[in-house]
């Protein structure tokens, strides 16, 4: 539900009017708009510019402007100016000055950290950019960890993020456009792309979808992702959400589009394929064999995490002849004391593990280790000894859960965890038959998804000559001559 602000008719009329040349009237108007003196962080500096023989006042929000700049570069030059015919642009020494007439645009700029200078008998206000929003420093990445490679992450301020990207892509064709997408909070989304690489149709489509969004305020990119994606209800994500600038730059150089926002310490990258989510940045930074080894391990982890619980249920229920006799005897000995069927055991342990995982994310640091011990002891050791679950189920669920951490991307991680439950249910009803059926249905579903027009399993299926076949294994970097063609970039050669 949209919670629209209720604006009185008179306020609305005021806000759309041009400012009054009479200083006292505009001062009163702005005091009313900003609820001064109730609002404690508004600063109004009234001064007289002696050289021009005019009164003026400076209006700014203390908490989001750089007071030193205002002091040194605006107030001091204005007060100390001796020339009679100087214009304001010649007196004030800041890099950018804009002039606005409408109250609405002035209010917008003041909200963005500008300082507004109103001069007597002047129907324009001068807006000086001196924004200084407080933000975090650049830190190490916590969610997408690599051993070999850069470790910076994005922060909540867009200019810092853009500077991190421009540090890598020092190209005049790297363009960052902005569009405002929410009505009340005036959130700006920055669309970044390399002009001579990204497909024009793609850029147009992105802008079209951004303009279609009709909400009051947008918190951050995570919410924007849900408005933009092709299929909001799908289990698998179609937009990449990353906190690493190096990964962002890799995708920019392939012809993708990047979205950035203030208050989001990440970037959205589109369009992407399943393999882009599956690979991590480190695969390329490692040497050829090391990278392929990591990918191979990741593939095994993917197969294990999705299938292992389901296969256990299928084998113990429908295909016990598959298990070698000794192992079968061991399993049935431990299972004999457990009162539950395999599926109940597996579901109990899976839910328990999901609870541990969610709790572990949110537990406060001081009691973290204690909760860890409690979880391990109670849910592992004690449950087995109380014969609620058999030890082999604990091994299987733990193995599956551990393997799911190998997949780095958070969106895909959730997809695999949810898919696992679908596999478990069908394994209970149909055994291996059900598992294969779900697998086929899943693969054909993935094949039918597109992310902004790019088929989801490219380049494995729609085969593009020269796309490098960067799917399960990767090639020597020196042999990669072409950009992946499924993003339809304008320039397909890498050299």
């Amino acid at each position: 539900m949209k919670d629209r602000i209720v604006i009185n008719k008179s306020d609305k009329q005021n806000i759309n009017r041009p400012i009054s040349p009479q200083l006292s009237k505009s001062l009163e108007a702005f005091k009313a708009i900003y609820s001064f003196p109730t609002n404690q962080d508004i600063a109004i500096r009234e001064l007289t510019i002696s050289s021009l023989n005019k009164r003026a006042f400076l209006f700014f929000i203390k908490t989001i402007t750089d007071v030193t700049t205002i002091d040194q570069d605006i107030i001091k030059p204005l007060l100390k100016n001796k020339e009679k015919d100087a214009s304001i642009e010649q007196i004030i020494v800041t890099p950018s000055i804009k002039k606005e007439k409408l109250t609405k645009s002035i209010v917008e700029k003041i909200n963005n950290g500008n300082a507004a200078l109103f001069i007597q008998d002047d129907s324009q206000a001068y807006l000086i950019d001196c924004a200084k929003f407080k933000e975090r420093g650049i830190e190490r990445s916590e969610n997408e960890i690599v051993i070999k490679g850069p470790k910076e992450t994005f922060v909540e301020g867009v200019s810092t993020n853009i500077s991190l990207i421009r540090k890598k892509i020092k190209n005049e064709n790297l363009v960052f456009e902005t569009t405002t997408i929410s009505e009340r909070a005036h959130d700006e989304v920055f669309i970044g792309y390399v002009k001579n690489l990204a497909n024009d149709t793609l850029i147009k489509e992105v802008k079209k979808r951004l303009n279609k969004i009709d909400i009051d305020s947008l918190q951050n990119l995570a919410i924007l992702e849900q408005y933009l994606e092709d299929r909001p209800r799908s289990v698998y994500p179609t937009i990449l959400y990353t906190e690493r600038p190096d990964r962002t730059c890799t995708f920019l150089e392939r012809g993708c589009v990047v979205l950035l926002m203030n208050n989001s310490a990440d970037a959205l990258i589109l369009p992407i394929t399943f393999w882009d989510l599956f690979h991590s940045a480190e695969d390329e930074y490692l040497r050829f064999l090391n990278g392929n080894f990591t990918r191979f391990i990741r593939l095994i982890a993917f197969l294990i995490t999705v299938h292992i619980s389901a296969v256990y249920i299928a084998i113990t229920t429908f295909h016990p002849e598959m298990i070698p006799t000794d192992l079968l005897l061991a399993i049935s000995a431990t299972k004999a004391k457990v009162p539950f069927t395999p599926i109940i055991e597996i579901l109990l342990m899976e839910i328990a593990f999901e609870l541990i995982r969610e709790a572990g994310l949110r537990v406060p640091l001081p009691i973290g280790p204690t909760i860890g011990i409690v979880g391990a002891l109670i849910l592992g050791q004690a449950a087995v000894q109380a014969n609620i679950v058999s030890p082999i189920v604990v091994i299987i669920v733990a193995l599956g859960a551990l393997s799911s951490f190998v997949i780095g991307d958070i969106g895909l991680n959730f997809s695999f965890r949810i898919s696992r439950f679908i596999f478990i249910v069908l394994a209970y009803f149909f055994g291996l038959y059900g598992i294969v059926a779900v697998f086929m249905v899943l693969v054909i579903y993935l094949l039918s998804i597109t992310s902004f027009g790019v088929p989801y399993l490219s380049p494995q299926t729609p085969s593009y000559l020269g796309s490098g076949q960067d799917t399960v294994h990767r090639k020597l970097l020196t042999k990669r001559y072409y950009r992946p063609k499924y993003f339809k970039p304008k320039d397909t050669t890498r050299s």
Partner: protein
């Protein structure tokens, strides 16, 4: 039904051919051949391929001449409106009967080999529903999924054949000419419908990148299929003698029950998932082609709504035989004998009519 924004490439088409025709290794085709051709069953894929090469070449030629028409339009153009529609309808009936017999046989395989306590109707419904869902996604995606699962299936098939080394007796191959050349030639001719899927896959022409894909894919797939089928039948022969092989309905699955790797004694459940994947692909593409022909013959646009009807028809008729092991075996034997002459003669007819219409000269 077809919402993909790209077309089928050579790789995917080859994968589809390999999966659809190659999977006949694992059903009772081999048992049928062992019954009729005794110990020369392994010659049948090779000789049948030689027999059908000319019809296949003629078919490709006819298809290449009419570059902007798909198969049903070619048939109607060549044979006229009434005979053409009747031909399409006949093809549809043949395909439906084929789906019914094959799906009943595969359900029987799953039921007897792996799920003996499950009522066959449940297995049948599940198989058909899943294949129906995959078929609705469209030809492009089905062939894509064939390409995705092909490596796994072929590796598992190869592994299962490799694990049979050491068992069996090479002497079972002799006498080489078995029942005599006359029988061999006659049976090769009568069982050439192993390869009839080449004809049915022509209906996927509008979704191919270009007409050459069909030609290239046939050239790549046919030799591989010949080698695959021949080697598999030789291995069945070496493993069981022909007299034992003809008594079993599904020699491949029996072999899976025999082989073992070290401490793993029962391997059949390891190979079951891969065989299942090929089964799903095969029936999905059959159902898709079936609905495609329905669209052309009966001029219905959104044939995906007919899917439940078609699936119900297949399931109900497929469940009719009370003792499927014998009934379906014999039905399939005779059905092969009916289909083969049709498969061999039909491209000749197409070519002759196209030639006499003069379409080859104008190019």
């Amino acid at each position: 039904m077809d919402k993909a924004n790209y077309k089928i490439g050579t790789k995917e088409f080859v994968a589809t051919m390999l999966l659809i025709i190659g999977i006949s290794v694992s059903d009772d085709t081999s048992a049928i051949l062992f019954q009729t051709m005794k110990n020369t069953a392994w010659m049948q894929p090779i000789l049948s391929a030689i027999i059908i090469i000319i019809p296949l070449i003629l078919l490709i030629k006819v298809v290449n001449v009419y570059k902007d028409k798909d198969m049903s339009e070619i048939i109607i153009h060549l044979f006229g409106k009434y005979i053409g529609s009747f031909t399409l309808f006949a093809l549809w009936v043949l395909l439906t009967i084929r789906i019914i017999i094959e799906s009943a046989i595969y359900t029987n395989i799953i039921e007897t080999m792996f799920y003996s306590k499950t009522p066959p109707i449940v297995i049948y419904i599940f198989l058909m529903v899943v294949c129906g869902y995959i078929a609705i996604k469209g030809a492009v995606h089905i062939t894509s999924i064939a390409w995705v699962v092909l490596p796994a299936i072929k590796i598992s098939f190869l592994t299962s054949l490799l694990l049979t080394i050491g068992y069996g007796n090479l002497n079972f191959l002799f006498p080489i000419l078995g029942p005599g050349e006359k029988v061999i030639m006659k049976e090769s001719f009568l069982k050439a419908s192993i390869y009839i899927d080449f004809l049915f896959l022509c209906f996927l022409l509008p979704y191919l990148k270009n007409r050459n894909v069909f030609q290239k894919a046939s050239r790549i797939a046919l030799p591989i299929l010949i080698v695959e089928l021949a080697i598999a039948f030789i291995i069945f022969l070496i493993f069981f003698d022909y007299s034992a092989a003809k008594l079993q309905n599904f020699p491949y699955h029996e072999i899976l029950r025999y082989i073992h790797v070290g401490f793993l004694t029962n391997m059949e459940s390891f190979f079951f998932p891969f065989w299942l994947m090929a089964t799903f692909v095969r029936f999905s593409i059959y159902i898709y082609i079936n609905l495609h022909i329905v669209r052309k013959v009966f001029k219905i646009e959104r044939t995906e709504f007919l899917m439940p009807g078609l699936l119900a028809l297949v399931i109900l008729i497929g469940l009719i035989p009370d003792s499927p092991s014998f009934t379906l075996f014999n039905m399939k034997l005779h059905y092969f004998n009916i289909l083969s002459p049709i498969f061999i003669v039909f491209p000749f007819l197409l070519w002759i009519v196209a030639y006499s219409k003069g379409d080859f000269k104008s190019g």
